[in-house]
């Protein structure tokens, strides 16, 4: 068993910043990650980091834009912390050597981004995330922080009290992918989950293959609620065969969307008569899908994004990286042919419920980054607001876990503040299927002390691995693919009652199938079959909670659209959705969004740009 003060799970932007912060506070910290740090998906971010750095801009303006963008489902104390602290964090990155793009006077460059009232998106070419990830990993190397890479964390070691608020997290159990062994990591100060996105819940996503939402599912099973899971951002222009993102830049420069008949559908079919291709992400995504659903898609799957008319010179000058992306990942030449695009899952606004210090409802358990819901994005994330979230809240979680005094949080966790039960009746069963058996890995081990708890969890994890390797049964890939298909078909930018119910019952079947899952590769060495099989369990838990939230929320807010009620309903829905696992019987409940900030109270306004 390994022992550290603070154990950080995940080594993307959030995990690395958390580890550095914990060490700054004097803690002995270790990072446990299923990927080597530089392989984390933070490296894929292109656009930039929002920070109010310049004269004429202010954190208050950034907070206002963020609240408005969130469709008034962000929590003001978190939003204000983000906007206040982002500038010093960005400057910190610069002091660590991050190669930002520069102005004539040598200062870091900023550019305009959708939904922002000031050009405050700080960037490093079209590779901001890559530079940020590598800069922080360099600091981790410099500080000699221990990294256990290619260790897949399987579950948390959390005590078993009836009420989650009384439970304590003492560490994690993980599987060493290279050597095929299970071991425990005890954390006396705290465990920080920073496991990133969950795009693999859908079959078409800009997220990495490793983004299976492991941390969210682990925390959920241990008793921490998932918050606002129904809020998923879809991006309208991703390449059909891989999900690689083609940035808004193409449409910004004048790129045009066509359907199979060669119609400029954004105008000709009246989706956005004023803004056309430049309408907001969700409007364009819905338009594209409507075209495909009504038989006007190309190969019944995608539409065309054409930039040929811009001319070779302009394309090479401003959109050169797009040419490479289309060619490398789709085999399409953007200079001589239109590029195929379709909507893809892009970002999860929801996640592990935390307060502004990164604390969850369980003592000793923290979360930060895309896996967490603090919540700064509410119903919809503004471009350039995820990267600052990683560094601001990664740092806060690291400091708190290392014992820094940070004052009373304003955001309640769990059922400690105002909350109300959901009245919604799901017609399909949710949660645990029958007798769970070790393959499913539910519930917690019982033990009196931390050490004993870890031992018991390690033993349970070993049994689970042995069982998965030994039993006969079906391959996880067909189950995962079934989940992804139904989510993409029914819980995408279009959400209607019938489809959502269909999804819930498909997920039930998938859960049943999973009780029969087995790993066919018998190897102890780099068994990715085993890892993917365990991830698929996490994908299942998340897909279910997400669909439950989407079914219950009958309104159109941010990225969540419901056919039955196509407008925002502030009277009934200015509140967060929470789903608790309840030892296998998922429960849906709500808590109010916090709109009173330090700067002001953010009164809901119509979100129009």
């Amino acid at each position: 068993m390994h022992e550290h003060d603070v154990v950080v799970v995940g080594a993307g932007g959030a995990g690395l910043r958390a580890a550095i912060a914990a060490q700054e506070e004097g803690a002995d910290v270790a990072i446990v990650s299923k990927l080597h740090p530089v392989r984390s998906h933070t490296g894929a971010a292109e656009g930039g980091i929002n920070a109010a750095l310049r004269d004429g801009d202010s954190w208050e303006d950034h907070a206002y834009d963020t609240m408005k963008g969130s469709d008034y489902l962000g929590d003001a104390p978190a939003v204000e912390a983000l906007c206040k602290e982002s500038p010093e964090e960005v400057i910190q990155l610069e002091h660590w050597g991050m190669p930002f793009s520069r102005e004539e006077d040598g200062r870091v460059s900023q550019r305009p981004f959708g939904g922002l009232s000031f050009p405050r998106t700080t960037y490093a070419g079209a590779e901001t995330g890559h530079q940020m990830l590598h800069t922080m990993y360099e600091q981790v190397v410099k500080r000699g922080i221990t990294v256990y890479d290619e260790w897949h964390v399987m579950d948390l070691a959390v005590t078993d009290e009836e009420d989650p608020a009384d439970r304590t997290c003492h560490g994690v159990v993980a599987y060493d992918i290279q050597r095929g062994e299970v071991d425990g990591f005890r954390a006396s100060g705290g465990v920080i989950l920073a496991t990133g996105g969950m795009g693999q819940v859908f079959d078409h996503t800009t997220n990495a293959v490793a983004n299976t939402g492991d941390g969210v599912a682990m925390a959920y099973r241990a008793g921490v609620p998932m918050e606002d899971m129904e809020f998923i951002q879809f991006h309208p222009t991703t390449l059909p065969s891989t999900g690689v993102l083609i940035s808004e830049g193409v449409r910004g420069e004048g790129g045009i969307l066509y359907n199979e008949k060669g119609e400029r559908f954004m105008f000709e079919h009246g989706y956005a008569n004023n803004d056309g291709e430049l309408a907001s992400r969700d409007v364009v995504s819905r338009a594209e899908l409507t075209e495909v659903n009504e038989g006007r898609g190309i190969e019944d799957e995608y539409v065309h994004l054409d930039m040929r008319h811009l001319g070779e010179e302009r394309i090479l000058d401003r959109l050169e990286n797009i040419l490479h992306l289309a060619e490398d990942f789709e085999g399409a030449d953007g200079l001589t042919e239109p590029m195929p695009v379709k909507p893809g899952q892009h970002y999860a606004m929801g996640g592990i419920e935390t307060n502004e210090h990164g604390e969850t409802a369980i003592d000793g358990l923290y979360a930060a980054g895309e896996c967490a819901c603090v919540s700064v994005h509410g119903g919809n994330r503004l471009g350039g607001n995820a990267l600052p979230e990683l560094i601001v809240f990664g740092k806060r979680a690291g400091h708190h876990a290392a014992g820094k005094e940070m004052g009373e949080p304003e955001i309640p966790t769990g059922k400690s503040g105002d909350w109300e039960p959901a009245e919604y009746e799901f017609e399909v069963a949710v949660g645990t299927v029958g007798d769970r058996g070790p393959a499913a890995a539910d519930g917690g081990a019982v033990a009196s002390d931390a050490e004993g708890l870890l031992e018991a969890e390690i033993e349970r994890a070993r049994e689970r691995v042995e069982d998965l390797l030994a039993r006969k049964g079906r391959n996880h890939a067909e189950i995962r693919s079934k989940v992804q298909k139904t989510m993409t078909a029914n819980v995408n930018v279009f959400r209607e009652e019938e489809g959502l119910k269909q999804s819930l019952s498909d997920l039930r079947e998938a859960r049943e199938a999973y009780t029969d899952v087995a790993v066919s590769d018998p190897s102890r060495t780099f068994n990715t079959d085993l890892i993917h099989t365990m991830e698929t369990r996490n994908v299942l838990d998340i897909a279910e909670a997400l669909t439950m939230g989407a079914l219950a929320r009958r309104e159109f807010r941010g990225a969540h659209w419901r056919k039955e009620r196509q407008e925002r309903d502030d009277e009934n829905w200015l509140k967060h959705t929470l789903v608790s696992w309840n030892d296998g019987e998922p429960e849906l409940w709500y808590k109010p969004a916090i709109l009173e900030g330090e700067a002001k109270t953010y009164e809901p306004k119509v979100r129009s740009y």
Binding site: L35, H36, V38, R39, S40, H41, G43, A44, L53, P87, E88, I91, E94, H95, G97, P99, F100, S101, R102, E104, D105, G106, R107, V108, G125, E127, H130, H134, T135, E138, Q139, V141, K142, Q178, A208, V209, L239, P240, S241, T242, V244, L325, D328, F329, E330, G331, L469, A470, N475, A477, S481, V519, S520, D521, P522, S523, T525, N527, T528, D529
Partner: protein, 298 residues
């Protein structure tokens, strides 16, 4: 084991001979049974696939290196053949994922981002170091041979041990160092556009290790820092935000016995780098800097 596998290792698979061991445990038996089943399934699958390939013109044939020190029947390296239905835009990584998810879930390779930023899936494709996710199938000759990176220990199938590569990357003090920061609390260090442009390409490295694998010198001298680590040193040595004193230290590191002077400018690293980093040029420039630097002291 090493990755230098001569072509003739492709051989018909034998049924895993059951070796009698004393009192095998229940788990061992089950696993052995599993292996037998897997072998049988593989033969069946290959037959089916070949049939399908004959019926359907539009498939691609992949010959994939297989090896697992841990599994009977895979301890002898071999090549497995997979037939994958071709779709426009398909990459080598897509074809591998298809093969794994459809035919053989034990087929093992690293991958994550699918967009050439995580650097996980450098491999040896038709005799060249490539990122699988960035290599279009229709640009390759068939059958497509997919092997692990040469000059590295093979862990399993297409996965190689990267520890040595990481050690070299971390040997050059790969982190920003300066003794001077601006006074203002929220003030950045200034950097000219020209200087940022100068280091730009060098900062694009994704640690895929393709360059290291392609380098003959690195193959012969295990302590050679290698192109990627030297490029990392270049990235800092040329950054004007670090002071002269730090640059001195950096030049000393890359000038050591297994540093820049080992490079014989064969350009193999530059040719394979998926991020188009002019590695050889960077190494040459550091050599010149080192000479200039020494002159100062003479």
């Amino acid at each position: 084991m090493s990755t230098q596998i001569p072509k003739q290792t492709e051989k018909a698979d034998e049924t895993a001979a059951e070796t009698e061991s004393e009192a095998p445990s229940k788990g061992d038996e089950r696993r052995a049974e599993k292996r037998r089943r897997a072998d049988e399934q593989r033969r069946q699958r290959e037959a089916e696939e070949a049939e399908r390939a004959a019926a359907d013109e539009n498939t691609v044939e992949l010959r994939v290196f297989r090896y697992d020190p841990d599994v009977e029947g895979k301890q002898e390296p071999r090549f497995d053949t997979f037939h994958v239905p071709f779709t426009k835009g398909m990459t080598v990584l897509d074809a591998l994922m298809y093969s794994r998810d459809t035919y053989d879930s034990s087929l093992t390779f690293r991958h994550s981002c699918r967009q050439a930023v995580c650097g996980s899936d450098a491999m040896f494709v038709n005799g060249g170091q490539k990122l699988a996710c960035k290599t279009q199938i229709d640009e390759l000759e068939e059958p497509i041979r997919v092997e692990p990176l040469p000059h590295a220990e093979v862990t399993k199938d297409l996965v190689v041990d990267l520890e040595h590569f990481y050690d070299q990357m971390e040997a050059v003090e790969p982190y920003f160092q300066t003794n001077e920061y601006p006074d203002g609390e929220l003030e950045e260090q200034r950097q000219t556009r020209e200087n940022r442009e100068k280091i730009k390409m060098s900062t694009r490295c994704i640690w895929c290790s393709a360059c290291m694998s392609s380098c003959n010198i690195a193959a012969g001298d295990n302590e050679y820092l290698g192109p990627a680590a030297i490029n990392k040193a270049y990235r800092f040595a040329m950054d004007e935000r670090e002071g002269e004193d730090v640059k001195q230290k950096r030049l000393e590191i890359i000038e050591q016995e297994h540093g820049v002077w080992r490079c014989q400018t064969q350009f193999s690293c530059t040719e394979v780098c998926p991020k188009d980093i002019p590695l050889t040029e960077h190494i040459q420039e550091l050599k010149r800097e080192a000479v200039k630097n020494n002159l100062k002291f003479w």
